[in-house]
């Protein structure tokens, strides 16, 4: 089962994992990736705003999830991506992959998050402590990470 959601609201890791496992009979492993808004002493931010392309986001995420499911023979996967303004420490994105064995679950999770970063229409804008904003630039290493699969 593939579940993909784009939402403003937060999500609950335990609920999502339970729902995935309930629908993934014969699963022995669930791997996950949780991304959170990062603000550091060296590079503090006040908030992060995620913009997206609504008509394209859902089909793009579904295509990425379907490819992960096929490649790693997953028993199910979940992708939840938040949009809107988020404060430091807030959850941004959750990826879950259920499989019979651990390597498929881990690989499926890595594939999903790598492709979310380079293949889905989201853009991040950082709000600095002084109130100015700047668009986060895409990183070359993200393109390399998704290209290696």
């Amino acid at each position: 089962m593939i579940r993909v959601r784009v939402q403003v609201a937060d999500f609950d890791l335990k609920e999502e994992t339970d729902a995935l496992l309930a629908a993934a009979a014969e699963a022995g492993a669930v791997a996950s990736f949780l991304g959170v808004v990062r603000s550091t002493a060296a590079r503090p931010i006040a908030a992060l705003t995620l913009e997206h392309y609504p008509a394209m986001t859902q089909p793009a995420l579904e295509a990425i999830a379907a490819e992960a499911q096929r490649r790693f023979d997953l028993l199910g996967c979940t992708v939840i991506h938040r949009v809107g303004r988020l404060l430091p420490g807030a959850r941004i994105v959750l990826v879950l992959a259920a499989a019979r064995h651990r390597q498929a679950a881990l690989d499926g999770t890595g594939y999903l998050i790598d492709w979310l970063k380079t293949g889905a229409p989201f853009w991040k804008s950082e709000e600095l402590p002084d109130g100015t904003t700047r668009w986060v630039e895409a990183r070359e290493e993200d393109a390399e990470a998704s290209a290696r699969w």
């Binding site: 392309y53 991506h81 994105v93 970063k117 229409p121 853009w123 991040k124 630039e137």
Partner: protein, 87 residues
């Protein structure tokens, strides 16, 4: 009557253009992403600034990532945006 093309802009491309969406009717010969970009640049200084570094702007046609030579025609939805930074 030729159907218009819907153009969408996201992130800093949207900010430079000064609008998130517009409808345009394509002149004869504007039938690829590259040709559309060249034509859009003439619409305003904001448009011109948005596409000043074409390598930094990505496109999608009808919600699918597109290349410079992807065909564009009446009724399509074409989006322009910086490289994505989700996840």
């Amino acid at each position: 009557m030729t159907k218009p093309v819907t153009i969408l802009y996201f992130a800093w491309v949207r900010e430079r253009v000064g609008a998130g969406e517009e409808e345009v009717t394509l002149p004869q010969g504007v039938d690829t992403v590259a040709a559309l970009v060249a034509w859009l640049r003439g619409r305003s200084p904001g448009h011109d600034a948005a596409f000043a570094s074409p390598a930094l702007v990505r496109a999608a046609v009808n919600q699918v990532f597109a290349r410079q030579d992807t065909a564009v025609g009446a009724g399509d939805e074409v989006a322009f945006f910086p490289p994505v930074t989700g996840g």
